[in-house]
């Protein structure tokens, strides 16, 4: 009954989605307020139906309904409850439903929080989002139905892939998709503005908080994936340049560029068409990422040919969405004005320089990800493009970005006079040169960023005649400014963590009998043997490693090796003692002889700064979102519209 209910809800969502996609669009074109009015209730109804379908699938998982093919292939009655719920997005069909769910959440949010926008614009935005959801609904209903029944009903399910049975699975995909799909809002704003021909600084102001919100979610999503890989793969890597990772990283790079160019467009009205193009590109990359991950072309281009229906659908959908929006762009964008004037040496120019670098970095990742696929498809040979390529190409591209991050925020808008910029930068530059001389180029660039943020902060917070109190000064600091500083500090912390781990990580593979010790970077690791353990759906062994430092106990680590009962593949669960200056990381290898085990011991200095930096970036995004500018505007316009409503 429940699977059919879910299926029915999807069909209803499709029907309402079609209304949401077309009626307001036609209404906006013809100027008919009653047709435009449809957008909001239609968006709310679509949300209700998609949420119903989502809850139906979740309920099938929770109640172990193995008559549903998707549940039977991705769950098992012994699977713990949180993972049964997370199993909803453990496979292809459910991932699409999660994608759609997130799109409905964003659409609802736009519908509820856009009372200050002109009606024609809102209806167009909601219509574009409705059309996207129609595409995904058609895809699910024709090729990837999660509610398909299975007959005969198997006694038990095939279990969730053991790699996915982890707290990371509960949090990482929803956050990631929330970010991915969130760029659909900026995309819809862009398409709506192009359709209506009203592309101005106000457009940028309305788009900005939505873009920042999506970017914040995406940052957290990528970070969670990285942490997860770090502890589950057993050797402490945190980024692999895997095509699946690149698929989420490309929208992030484009989104980061978009955030910066939105700043130029909002403040100065300049480069509007470029900003709109970036909004289109960021969401197109989200779609492309979904295509890459979901069509199976990544494992092999031939997987595409064996199941052409799915791949073909996404390809056509991509062509329609990306091609259509770019065609619209080519038609409408040239009519957009120039914005305000600024000189070559100005914050505007530097932000645009940042844009060029981020877009080039994004295109390089795209090139490296697609190149082997294209080469293979053309029959020109099979190659692999992996971490060595991306490190050789990507890292040098980011170096000027970190440098610009140090200089840009201190340059004034409109025109930054060289002597003035030099005066404001003198302390930061001094610190940076010393750091570079003492420790090397990377440290020089990182400290330039940190020191220039501190300079900026000092200039804004030092006591003045009118406002001597520090607290008052802090209150006066605009939230968007504070957010930017936090995010930039996050970048510096991230870069610091990456450099430290890369340079000073120590690892050792030892063969340990109970009682054996090994010393690494001042920490003494004593192996106390292993014991058998039984989990809810796995058996395994758990090692016990005591760590002391200078004779004082430091940590007790319990690395595990598990074999999940259904799918029988062995899994490594590393044990980590995290700390602000280092992680101690121990994983169990294979048993060798007479109670001895291969034990991998790692000393990873400052590795947590990598994710701490990402968290700071996301926190910066959240702080910027809370800026009064966005809230005030809304309240002001709300009161003015209600006042106008009373008058008429």
């Amino acid at each position: 009954m429940i699977p059919e209910l879910g299926q029915f809800a999807l069909l209803l969502a499709l029907a309402v989605g079609v209304i949401q996609g077309f009626v307001p669009l036609i209404g906006a074109a013809k100027g008919r307020a009653d047709w435009m009015w449809v957008a909001r209730p239609a968006a709310q109804t679509t949300f209700v139906f998609v949420a119903t379908a989502f809850l139906c699938l979740a309920s099938c998982f929770v109640s172990n309904d193995f008559s549903v093919l998707y549940v039977a292939s991705n769950s098992n009655s012994a699977l713990p409850l949180p993972y049964r719920f997370a199993g909803v997005w453990g496979g292809h069909e459910g991932s699409l439903l999660l994608w759609l769910m997130m799109l409905s959440v964003w659409t609802l949010a736009v519908a509820q929080m856009s009372s200050h926008l002109p009606q024609a614009l809102v209806s167009r935005i909601l219509a574009v989002m409705g059309l996207i959801s129609v595409g995904f609904l058609l895809f699910m209903l024709t090729t990837s139905n999660p509610f398909e029944r299975l007959s005969p009903v198997p006694p038990d399910g095939n279990d969730l892939n053991p790699l996915l049975q982890d707290p990371g699975m509960v949090m990482h995909p929803p956050m990631l998709y929330m970010g991915y799909v969130g760029f659909s809002v900026a995309f819809s704003f862009a398409v709506a503005a192009l359709l209506s021909g009203t592309l101005d600084a106000t457009w940028a102001r309305w788009t900005r908080p939505w873009t920042t919100a999506a970017w914040t979610f995406l940052t957290i999503g990528i970070m969670l994936g990285s942490v997860w890989a770090y502890y589950v793969l057993g050797w402490g890597g945190w980024w692999f340049w895997d095509p699946v990772e690149n698929a989420s990283f490309m929208p992030w790079l484009a989104g980061t560029a978009l955030i910066h160019s939105l700043a130029v467009t909002e403040k100065r009205g300049a480069f509007k068409s470029w900003t709109v193009l970036l909004a289109i590109v960021a969401f197109s990359l989200s779609l492309l990422g979904t295509f890459l991950v979901r069509s199976g072309v990544l494992s092999s281009v031939h997987a595409f040919a064996t199941d052409p229906k799915r791949g073909l659908f996404i390809l056509i959908f991509l062509a329609v969405v990306i091609g259509g929006s770019l065609a619209l762009y080519a038609w409408r964008a040239p009519k957009v004005g120039l914005g305000a004037r600024f000189s070559l040496m100005s914050r505007e120019s530097m932000l645009l320089g940042n844009n060029v670098m981020f877009v080039v970095a994004m295109l390089s990742v795209l090139l490296g990800t697609l190149y082997p696929l294209v080469l293979d498809a053309l029959g020109l040979g099979k190659i692999s493009v992996g971490a060595p390529y991306f490190e050789a190409v990507f890292v040098p591209l980011m170096a000027p970005v970190v440098f610009l991050m140090g200089v840009g925020p201190l340059a004034s808008w409109k025109s930054a006079l060289a002597p003035d910029l030099a005066r404001r930068l003198r302390w930061a530059a001094g610190v940076s040169v010393v750091a570079a001389l003492v420790t090397g180029w990377v440290a020089g660039r990182i400290s330039l960023g940190v020191a220039s943020i501190l300079t900026d902060l000092w200039e804004r917070l030092r006591p003045t005649a009118t406002q001597p109190g520090l607290i008052g000064r802090v209150r006066q600091l605009p939230r968007s400014m504070a957010g930017m500083m936090l995010a930039h500090l996050g970048v510096a912390a991230f870069a610091f963590g990456v450099s430290m781990v890369k340079t000073y990580e120590v690892e050792r593979d030892v063969s340990m009998r109970p009682g054996d010790t090994t010393e690494l970077s001042g920490y003494l690791f004593t192996f106390r043997g292993v014991r058998d353990i039984q989990g809810p759906n796995y058996d395994g062994v758990q090692g016990l490693v005591e760590v002391t430092r200078g004779g004082q106990p430091e940590a007790v680590l319990r690395p595990e090796k598990r074999v999940y009962r259904v799918q029988r593949n062995p899994m490594t669960e590393a044990a980590i003692d995290p700390g602000p200056t280092r992680d101690l990381y121990v994983s169990l290898g294979e048993p060798v002889d007479a109670g001895a085990w291969i034990v991998r011991v790692y000393f990873k200095p400052f590795v947590d700064w990598i994710w701490g930096g990402c968290l700071l970036m996301a926190l910066g995004g959240a702080v910027a979102l809370s800026d009064r500018r966005y809230r005030l505007k809304r309240r002001e316009t709300q009161t003015s519209t209600t006042a106008a409503g009373v008058l008429t």
């Binding site: 403040k267 100065r268 004005g337 060029v356 099979k382 971490a387 591209l397 004034s412 990377v442 593979d509």
Partner: protein, 154 residues
């Protein structure tokens, strides 16, 4: 980056050597020859495990990867160079096994594309900005003084 000396000094200060308890045995390294092992891992870190889903030969636990790692160890013990090991792998499995694709006609675009993009992108930016600078004031919109004022430190 290679020599963050200051930090190194701090680390050395933090980690005083300590005396081991008398009965404990210092665990032997898992590898018979640490130097060979390190070289093998460095080489295997840039090779693809052919039976895995995008994993390096160094990280993979598959049987084939174990065998190939042993093969590499044996070659290194015989005194063969890194290049010889790489050639052995590409002779057997083709360029597909290399995570760092070789530079040749079919990969020129891959290797030089990013550089060309960067030069082209920055060039385009400079051109656009200079062309803008030559335009008369009348083509531009007036400054939003309020927005400019708000971002200035007082």
């Amino acid at each position: 980056m290679k020599n963050i000396r200051f930090v190194l000094v701090v680390f050395c200060l933090m980690s005083q050597p300590m005396s081991l308890p008398a009965q404990a045995r210092d665990a032997p390294l898992a590898a018979a020859d640490p130097a060979i092992e390190a070289r093998m891992l460095r080489i295997a870190g840039e090779l693809r495990c052919l039976v895995c889903q995008n994993q390096t030969l160094a990280d993979s636990h598959s049987g084939l990867a174990e065998d190939l790692r042993e093969e590499v160890r044996a070659m290194l013990r015989r005194g063969e160079s890194d290049e010889q090991v790489q050639r052995f792998m590409t002779d057997r499995y083709g360029d597909f096994v290399l995570y760092r694709p070789p530079v040749k006609a079919t990969t020129w675009l891959l290797w030089f594309g990013p550089g060309v993009l960067m030069v082209g992108g920055l060039g385009a930016l400079v051109t656009v900005l200079r062309r803008r600078a030559r335009l008369p004031d009348a083509d531009f919109e007036p400054d939003d003084e309020q927005a400019l004022e708000a971002s200035k430190p007082t």
